[in-house]
């Protein structure tokens, strides 16, 4: 069975609750979990979880107490260089290019459709799982 370990980094309580709700809704029951959801409100917390747990992908808010804007992605990439990162911003689409340049796999704006966000995160995780290295010449 395919499983996904995801980390949600979000300090906005409402958004975090929505994310938790979405993650909780998607877990069928204890013995057959497909989606393991970890949550934290800071980059430091994210670094700790990534260091201790197996994580496939990160859902990253770009406005955290100790990280603002696209720089949040750059700092997140330093401790999870090989994981899927979907960045979410509440400040519109302005920083998309910068965020992608800093290493995000995808960029979405608030208010997000959480099923869409989850699908995007799983898609980015699957992309990294599919063995296509060496074909990036185009």
């Amino acid at each position: 069975m395919v499983t996904y370990d995801i980390l949600i980094v979000e300090d906005n309580t409402n958004d975090m609750e929505l994310a938790k709700l979405a993650a909780k809704f998607m877990v069928p029951h204890e013995s057959e979990q497909r989606l393991h959801c970890h949550t934290t409100e800071t980059l430091a917390g994210a670094e700790k979880i990534v260091g201790e747990q197996h994580i496939d992908g990160v859902l990253l808010d770009l406005n955290l107490p100790n990280g603002k804007g696209a720089d949040t992605v750059r700092r997140c990439r330093t401790f999870c260089p090989d994981k899927a990162i979907v960045a979410i911003s509440g400040h519109g689409d302005d920083m998309r290019n910068e965020v992608m340049a800093f290493g995000a796999d995808s960029f979405m704006t608030k208010p997000p459709d959480y099923r869409g966000v989850m699908k995007e995160l799983l898609t980015q995780i699957e992309k990294r799982r599919l063995p296509i290295a060496g074909l990036m010449t185009a």
């Binding site: 395919v2 996904y4 809704f25 998607m26 877990v27 069928p28 029951h29 057959e32 497909r34 989606l35 099923r115 989850m118 699908k119 995007e120 799983l122 898609t123 980015q124 995780i125 699957e126 992309k127 799982r129 599919l130 296509i132 074909l135 990036m136 010449t137 185009a138």
Partner: protein
Amino acid sequence: MDVTGWTIDWKNVAIGVTSLGMALIGIYAAFLKLRDSRTTKDRKDTRDNQNYLDRRAERALKQADKANQDLSKLCLKLRDELAECRAELALAEIEREQARKAGGRGDL
């Protein structure tokens, strides 16, 4: 005059031998010239053929490079589509399981 009744005119013999020698030299010179011209032509043909093969190889290389790039793009596109399908499938299975758990029909 000898016993056969023939008189050998050595002067004519010398002229004949000289003429024959000159003719042979001329033929040999013509042969050399012909051989040189053929060699030059062969070299030119070889050079032309080499240029043609070089151009053909260069063209084939460009085509192979383009095909490789097209293939890479196609592979990446298919990889992205496959990843999206797998994500959608995973979500659908999770939601179906959730619906079954809630008491509804699993295929809804």
